[in-house]
Subunit: 242 residues, 2 copies
Amino acid sequence: MSNSPEYEGKAKQLIPTDDRNVVIQRFKNSATAFNGVKKGEFEGKGALNNAISSLLFSKLEAAGVPTHFISWDNATDMRVHRLQIIPLEVVVRNHVAGSLQKRTGLGEGTPLQPSIVETYYKKDELGDPILADTHVFALGILNADELETVKKAALAVNDVIRPVFADAGLKLIDFKLEFGWDSAGRLILGDEISPDTCRIWDAETNTKLDKDVFRHDLAGLIESYSVVAEKLGVDLNNPVEA
Amino acid sequence: MSNSPEYEGKAKQLIPTDDRNVVIQRFKNSATAFNGVKKGEFEGKGALNNAISSLLFSKLEAAGVPTHFISWDNATDMRVHRLQIIPLEVVVRNHVAGSLQKRTGLGEGTPLQPSIVETYYKKDELGDPILADTHVFALGILNADELETVKKAALAVNDVIRPVFADAGLKLIDFKLEFGWDSAGRLILGDEISPDTCRIWDAETNTKLDKDVFRHDLAGLIESYSVVAEKLGVDLNNPVEA
C-alpha cells in the first residue's frame, strides 16, 4: 500500500492504509486564512492540533458521541474511520464573534443563550456561503431528518467539550465541525477540533489563543496554540489517556 | 393634520391621516438598487406600483390573508393600517435567481420544490445580511412562534399571488415581503408587492419584467412594469375591482 496521500487539504492529508475503511489523517504545519489568501508554515502546529484533537475526540467517544477517531498514532498522524464528508461546515457558537458579529452587529463576546448552530456550504468558488435549512434541502445535501441529526450532534459535541475548555480556564467562543457518512451508513463527526477550527479565549483575560492570532497578526501562532495545549493538560507524546 | 411625510423611504413615503391608526402610503417615482448606490427617476413608476400592489393586496384580503391594505385612493396613494414594521425582509422563492444563484451555484430559473422562505436583516449599515432562524431569535426580532407565523403567511401569500401571475402569462420567480404589528397586536403583511419587490418573468420568453431591468440595464423600467400591469389587467385608474 502506497504512503502517498489520497487527499491533500490546506491543513491535513489523508493517507490510505491496508484497511479500505481506515485512513491516516496527517496534520500539516501549514496555516491558511481568508479562503487561502493568507498562508504560513508553523513548525509544530501539526503536532499540537493532532494532540488536542485526539484528546477531544477521545472525550467525545467516552461520552457516547460517535466520531471517526480510532487512535493517536504519532506526532502528526491520527488513525480514523474513512468518512464520505458532506459539503457543510457546521458552526456552533457560544459567544458572538467573526461573521456573526458582522451579520448581526452584536458585540464581540456577547453570550448566546441558547448556543446556535449554523451551516455553511463547503464550496471555495462560492466563498463558503452560509446556508439556511431550506438551502441545504434545495441543494440535496441532507434531508430534514439528517440535518436535525447533524445539528443535535453538533450541540452534543458542545455539551462535552465546552466544559473541558471551561475547566482549563478557557472560553470556547465557537467552533467548526464536519460530518460524513461512515461505511455503515452512519452520519458521524469527522475532521478535527483544534485551535485551527475553534475560537478559544483565555477565560480571565479574553486573550485570543486560536487561528485569529494568525488571521489578524495578534500573536505567535505556536505560542498561542501551546497555551491551549498546556491549559488542557495535553501530553504531546501521549495525548489520549489510556 | 399636516400632509408632510412622517417617514421617507427610498421608494415610498408614509403620510399621517386624522386617524392615528391609518396612514397614506405614497409611491414615489424613484428607483434605487444595490443598497442605494444606483438611482433613477421614472415618471409613472409610483402609479404602476401602487395599482399593481393594490390589486394584489385586495386579492390577498379576499382570500383571507390579512394585510395592511385599506384602499387605493389615487394614482400614487394607498390607504393602509399603520404597522410597526419588523426589521426583516422575508423572501419567498419559487425559482433560483439573484443571491440564491450566487449562494448555491444552482442555475438561474431552476424551479424550487417546495418554494423556500428566507429572512434578511433590514439594516443598511450591515448590508441586509441573510439570517438563519437562530439569528432572528438571537437578535430578539421574533420568537419561534412568531417567525413560524410569518413564514406561513409568506407561503400563503405565494399560494394566492403566484396563480394570479401564472394566469396572466407571468412567472413569479421570487418576491420580498415585510410584516409588522398592527394596533390590535396582529403580525400582518405590510409594504408593497410590485415589480420593485418581485422578480417577474414572461412565462413564454423568460423576459425579465421587474427591477432587474433597472439593476442590470436590460430594458426600460416603465415599459417592463407596464407589460406586467397590462398582463395582469390592471386598470391604473381603478385597480381594485369593486
